[in-house]
């Protein structure tokens, strides 16, 4: 399970976020915070996209800075506003990420069909609506064998059917017992939708339990 220790993130010398210690057990964590509070900054740091001070690791000792490749095998990230080169098709993206994450073609097809991405599989991303782009991003978030799946605003632009499919997939992954989900959302996630282990809030540059 992922652990954050002595985490801090600064932009141009200004402190954005500070997390002295946070452990995430397998299950679902809802991360809340106002616009600009630092949710995406935290997520991008944990996904290995932006640098930070401090340490993020798994309990078996795999650290993001010392073991970047192994760490990234265990972490999948779906962005709030995914953007991919417009000329690439959903097929190009899914096959590329699927190959990198060692996901079988069969499972790639399964997730693709589940979210309805097969309807625009061969179309270039530049023709996608924001909802279609979100679905593509969510498909790839389930590839491989991740121990941490970060979903930044997964519910925006998503239709109700896709939302239910997403919740079903999350519940299925949780049953495997080894996956942590970090989900940020301004929309409420009811207990009937997902069983949230803990709700955390980013407030005054700190991550605090609600």
């Amino acid at each position: 399970m992922p652990i954050i220790q002595n985490f801090s993130k600064r932009f141009n010398g200004h402190l954005i976020l500070e997390v002295p210690y946070q452990e995430f057990l397998p299950g679902i964590y809802w991360i809340k915070g106002e616009n600009g509070s630092g949710k995406t900054t935290l997520f991008k740091s944990m996904a290995g996209i932006i640098p930070f001070d401090g340490e993020i690791s798994f309990t078996d000792g795999i650290e993001i800075k010392k073991n970047p490749q192994v760490y990234r095998k265990r972490v999948n990230y779906s962005e709030a506003e995914p953007a991919y080169p417009g000329f690439l098709t959903a097929k190009d993206m899914i096959r590329f990420i699927g190959k990198v994450k060692n996901e079988s073609i069969e499972n790639q097809e399964r997730y693709t069909k589940a979210f309805g991405v097969d309807g625009f599989f061969d179309k270039p991303c530049e023709t996608f609506s924001s909802g279609m782009m979100k679905k593509l991003s969510l498909v790839m978030a389930f590839f491989g064998d991740p121990q941490l799946i970060i979903l930044d605003e997964p519910l925006i632009t998503l239709d109700e059917q896709a939302r239910n499919i997403l919740f079903n997939l999350i519940r299925t992954k949780i049953k495997s017992g080894n996956t942590t989900f970090l989900i940020s959302s301004h929309q409420s996630i009811g207990t009937s939708d997902l069983e949230i282990i803990q709700t955390l809030k980013i407030q005054n540059k700190k991550l605090i339990p609600v």
Partner: protein, 361 residues
């Protein structure tokens, strides 16, 4: 729109300035201009170049209006018609200013040569280009979001083929900056042919070809710069993927090798017989090391394209001198790869874009 246009195309202007002012003297420029203004037929040559430049501007403006962050520009549609047209012609004139400057130079030469009809033709064509760009801008503002039409050919290709990763960046840069690619390859090709021909007339050792290759490889600095931008900004998901630093390095070298096929092929075809196959292989590896060194350097800190090109020119000058003074190309290759690897391994995951650098993306 104007500042952004020049900022994004600064590499192109550097190459153009280097080409036109590096290779031609003032007298040659004047002789060329006199040739152009002497006949309406020859005048078509600068007109053709100006048209390509105008097409580049139109393409840039179209792309700019398509970006979400520029959607505020559409509010200019609320301006009174005359004010809007005045604004748009000002934008078009400013974007065309290098062409207009050269057009003025041609007009001065034409006045001295009493070519009055030529003057009318030049002024008329410049007005035509300003009008063309202004009308396109006007259409973009008043009829936005026409929707993306995908050609039947692309639809077929997308159905049949899954693009390999090595093709992502080449297609991206070809779509974003086609003239940059064409210009760079043209420059590289002409350079190789020119340097190779010198071996026919006198005895030179591998240093001359080494110096020529240095210029050729260094001219790809902008392509290297945009690769780093593509990999870390436009396709930032790559930073989340479980590639080792070594794999990322190999991906970069593979893509640069792919993009360099044309000039490498020309190097092979025109390679002087006086030099050995070992010299050729040494130059290929030297080229890759120059690309990798520049690429690794970009991860030290965020840097604007202008600063990177300046540093690339300085580096090229240093390599030029080192080769001239008999520094073996293979030694430089090993040095580039070693230093580049240390920089790359230590800085790749520490790298972050800083908005203040005003760096081109």
């Amino acid at each position: 729109m104007v500042i952004e246009f020049y900022r994004i195309n600064i590499g192109f202007f550097f190459v153009a300035i280097g080409f036109f002012f590096g290779f031609l003297s003032g007298r040659e420029h004047k002789a060329l201009a006199e040739a152009f203004v002497s006949s309406s037929l020859l005048l078509l040559i600068p007109f053709a170049v100006w048209t390509i430049y105008a097409i580049k501007i139109i393409g840039f403006n179209g792309l700019s209006f398509g970006k979400n962050e520029n959607s505020f520009l559409l509010s200019t549609s609320c301006l009174p018609r005359l004010a809007l047209l005045s604004c748009l012609t000002t934008v078009a004139t400013n974007q065309l200013s290098p062409i207009i400057a050269y057009g003025c130079f041609l007009i001065i030469v034409a006045i001295k040569s009493d070519q009055l009809i030529t003057i009318v033709e030049i002024i008329g064509f410049l007005f035509f280009l300003i009008l063309l760009i202004s009308i396109r801008l006007h259409t973009e503002i008043l009829h936005p979001n026409k929707g993306k039409n995908i050609s039947a050919f692309k639809n077929k290709i997308d159905k049949w083929i899954t693009k390999p990763f090595a093709w992502f960046y080449p297609e991206w840069i070809l779509r974003k900056q086609p003239l940059l690619i064409i210009g760079t390859k043209l420059f590289a090709g002409l350079l190789i042919i020119g340097v190779s021909r010198l071996y026919l007339f006198d005895e030179y050792d591998a240093r001359l070809m080494g110096m020529g290759a240095t210029l050729m490889f260094s001219s790809n600095a902008v392509i290297v710069y945009y690769y780093q931008r593509f990999e870390n900004f436009h396709f930032s998901v790559l930073r989340n993927l479980p590639f080792s630093t070594g794999q990322r390095m190999i991906q970069f070298l593979t893509v640069m090798g792919l993009l360099g096929l044309l000039e490498w092929g020309m190097l092979f075809s025109y390679f002087p017989e006086a030099l050995s196959i070992i010299d050729l292989v040494a130059l290929y590896s030297y080229g890759l090391s120059v690309y990798f060194f520049g690429y690794a350097y970009l991860f030290i800190r965020d840097i604007s394209l202008e600063k990177f090109i300046n540093k690339a020119f300085i580096a090229a000058f240093v390599w030029f001198i080192l080769i001239l003074f008999k520094m073996p190309v293979l030694f430089l290759t090993v040095l580039h790869f070693c230093i580049g690897w240390i920089i790359y391994r230590n800085n790749y995951y520490r790298f972050e874009f800083t908005a203040e650098a005003g760096s081109e993306k």
